[in-house]
């Protein structure tokens, strides 16, 4: 088994503000990304997936308190001083953001912004420029030499996102964080960008943590999927397993809520209830108030339990969770697995 590239272990993130209750944005999540693997973190807006990515990069504001362990290539990141973190950013870990229209500096050329990544980590000017042109070609920008000096606003959204990706991978990072890289693009361009990411993984062996809320994107790109709800990681499995045999009630509901042609005309499936207030979340499993399988045990946090084959769930209604916690008795009505 190859050494995991990214290990997140019992990560919790709280935002504090004066005179205001703390926001418990992420609660005890654990997952890994192996080299060359594409792992997707999915969930609704506000579930903490972007926060997790920012925590890995060390780009959270000072109001965020991070506890737990994050390690990349064996190196612990939590508590690392900013200067040490800066050496890793753009070097061993790259990040791509959601909106290509605001990710690029309007006052500098696209070429310069890619070269900046190389320069930031010791590359010389000419070296950086050559690399930038190389990268422009690799991500599919036509006529890279001529367009090196063009400012971002001369490019479409899809093109800009390619530039962003080029800038993020300039130094061949082992890990790439992609925070909703295609959300702001339309569907045809989306497919191109996803294909680009896949090619990068195939060519360079980059491990990718993909943050997404669109399950279609996930299905196209990911090898494994982690499902988050209200700051908690509720299920992780291979992409096939998640779609074919989801085990957590939330995952099932999420998949059921996807509009497909196969549904009859009529009402869309919804998940009843609302996302909890993260300043005062329910104890234990945060999905419990909305869960069709809720039980009194749910006020205790169910552990994320592996079934031995890499499929993990955190739900008392599943046997694997109960077994992992040492209480194999069935606790309630018909539960999954």
């Amino acid at each position: 088994m190859t050494e995991p590239l990214l290990v997140v272990d019992d990560l919790s993130i709280r935002y504090t503000a004066p005179r205001r209750p703390a926001v418990r944005a992420v609660e005890g999540i654990s997952f890994e990304v192996r080299p060359g693997e594409i792992v997707a973190l999915v969930g609704e807006s506000g579930c903490g997936k972007s926060t997790t990515a920012m925590a890995i990069m060390g780009l959270l504001p000072s109001t965020a308190a991070v506890t737990g362990r994050i390690s990349v290539a064996g190196r612990d990141l939590v508590g690392l001083p900013d200067e040490a973190m800066r050496e890793l950013r753009g070097n061993r870990i790259g990040m791509v953001f959601q909106d290509p229209l605001t990710s690029l500096d309007p006052s500098f050329s696209i070429g310069d912004q890619i070269a900046a990544t190389v320069r930031a980590h010791g590359g010389s000017g000419p070296q950086a420029r050559r690399r930038a042109i190389e990268l422009l070609a690799e991500v599919g920008i036509p006529a890279p030499e001529e367009r090196y000096g063009d400012p971002p606003h001369r490019f479409s959204g899809g093109m800009r996102q390619r530039v962003v990706i080029a800038a993020a991978i300039a130094n061949n990072p082992a890990l790439l964080l992609a925070d909703e890289p295609t959300t702001a693009l339309d569907v045809t361009i989306q497919a191109q960008i996803l294909a680009l990411l896949r090619t990068l993984r195939d060519t360079h062996g980059t491990g990718i943590l993909l943050i997404a809320h669109d399950l279609g994107v996930v299905a196209q790109l990911a090898d494994r999927v982690g499902v988050m709800y209200a700051g908690q990681l509720v299920e992780t499995a291979s992409v096939e397993a998640i779609f074919a045999a989801p085990r957590h009630p939330y995952t099932r509901a999420l998949l059921a809520a996807q509009p497909t042609g196969a549904q009859q005309a009529g009402t869309l499936q919804v998940i009843e209830g609302q996302v909890p207030d993260l300043t005062a979340p329910p104890p234990g499993c945060r999905f419990a108030p909305r869960c069709p399988l809720v039980h009194e045990a749910c006020v205790m946090l169910p552990p994320l339990a592996d079934d031995g084959a890499g499929h993990r769930v955190a739900c008392w209604a599943t046997e694997q969770t109960r077994r992992a916690a040492g209480r194999p008795e069935a606790t309630s009505t018909a539960g999954a697995s």
Binding site: M57, L59, R86, E87, L88, R89, G90, N91, G94, M95, F97, D99, T102, S103, L104, D105, P106, S107, F108, A116, T117, A120, H121, P151, H153, R154, F155, S156, G157, M159, V164, A167, A168, A170
Partner: protein
């Protein structure tokens, strides 16, 4: 022609009606004075013959349009008419005094930028005591009337420390050191409030820029903090800062009126104030016209500069 050039051409053309409207206003100034302006202006020299002569010279009995056209064509030829009180041609008077006003205004702006921009940048990147301190400075500078500040400075540097002269002027060509000695207090007076304003603008622009997503992306690339602040944030923030400098330059022209009077500097501002007190309408007219024209051109340059420098206004690329 690119959209940007069109902006600029349109803006240039728009200046013309503004200049015309302003000149009409200035032209009407004398004619709106209740009573007979000529008599008031001449004061004790107002004999019926003098009054009649001057009225004829000024063409005050002609139809208004005619008067305006005559006056404007004279201005465009450089003939501002004559100051009946001192006897000198007005254009000469104005030409003598303009450099003083310009020196004062330009030096004050330079001072304000040299103090305001660095402090503003620092306040934006190092919050805490520096931010609060500059905040207090800004409020203080705005609340304190600049002419009173000037007087307080005189109290400190002249009456108490005996370092600098309280008033007076020497042209820079004659005696550069002496000129600077006379100009320090007026420049400080005008410049301190301006520095506060520029500081505030710089700080605001820097803060806004630093919270932009592309800055986060720079950080995600590992770009060092210093580079982010001085190369990227400052460059993007400089546009609003430059715009404000342009606008404020005009405001300084107005403030110069008071400061010149305070420090007895022979500039256009003091000329206007003295003339108003003396009811010397022609001089007022000429002075106001000059300063207003200057103001309009500074605004023009600022607007053009803004369009010129703004990378986003280049016109549509490919979608």
């Amino acid at each position: 022609m690119s959209p940007r050039m069109w902006f600029i051409v349109r803006r240039l053309l728009m200046t013309i009606p503004i200049l015309v409207a302003m000149s009409i206003f200035v032209f009407l100034m004398i004619r709106l004075v209740p009573g007979d302006p000529v008599t008031t202006m001449l004061g004790f020299r107002a004999t019926p013959e003098n009054v009649a002569t001057i009225r004829a010279e000024l063409g005050l009995d002609q139809p208004l349009i005619q008067q305006y056209l005559d006056w404007i064509s004279g201005i465009l030829r450089g003939d501002f008419g004559q100051d009946y009180i001192s006897g000198a041609p007005l254009s000469e008077l104005l030409a003598q005094r303009l450099p003083v006003t310009l020196e004062l205004t330009v030096l004050a702006m330079v001072f304000a930028v040299l103090i305001g921009v660095p402090l503003g940048v620092m306040a934006a990147i190092r919050p805490g005591w520096l931010r609060r301190g500059t905040g207090v400075f800004v409020i203080g500078a705005v609340s304190i009337p600049d002419f009173w500040l000037g007087i307080m400075l005189v109290l400190l540097f002249t009456a108490t420390l005996h370092l600098l002269p309280p008033s007076g002027y020497v042209p820079i060509a004659e005696d550069p050191i002496g000129n600077l000695r006379y100009m320090i207090l007026p420049v400080l007076t005008l410049g301190i409030a301006e520095a506060a304003y520029i500081l505030r603008t710089t700080r605001g622009a820097m803060e806004e820029t630093l919270s932009a997503p592309f800055i986060t992306f720079h950080r995600a690339k590992g770009v060092p903090h210093r580079t982010i602040v001085f190369r990227h944030a400052l460059r993007n923030a400089s546009l609003p800062i430059i715009t404000v400098i342009g606008i404020q330059f005009g405001v300084l022209l107005g403030g110069a009126i008071v400061v010149e009077s305070l420090f007895a500097l022979p500039g256009v501002g003091r000329l206007i104030v003295t003339a108003v007190n003396q009811r010397n309408y022609l001089v007022v007219q000429g002075g106001v016209l000059l300063i207003a024209t200057l103001f309009i051109f500074v605004n023009l340059v600022t607007d053009v500069l803004y369009v010129w420098l703004n990378p986003r206004l280049e016109g549509s690329g490919q979608g």
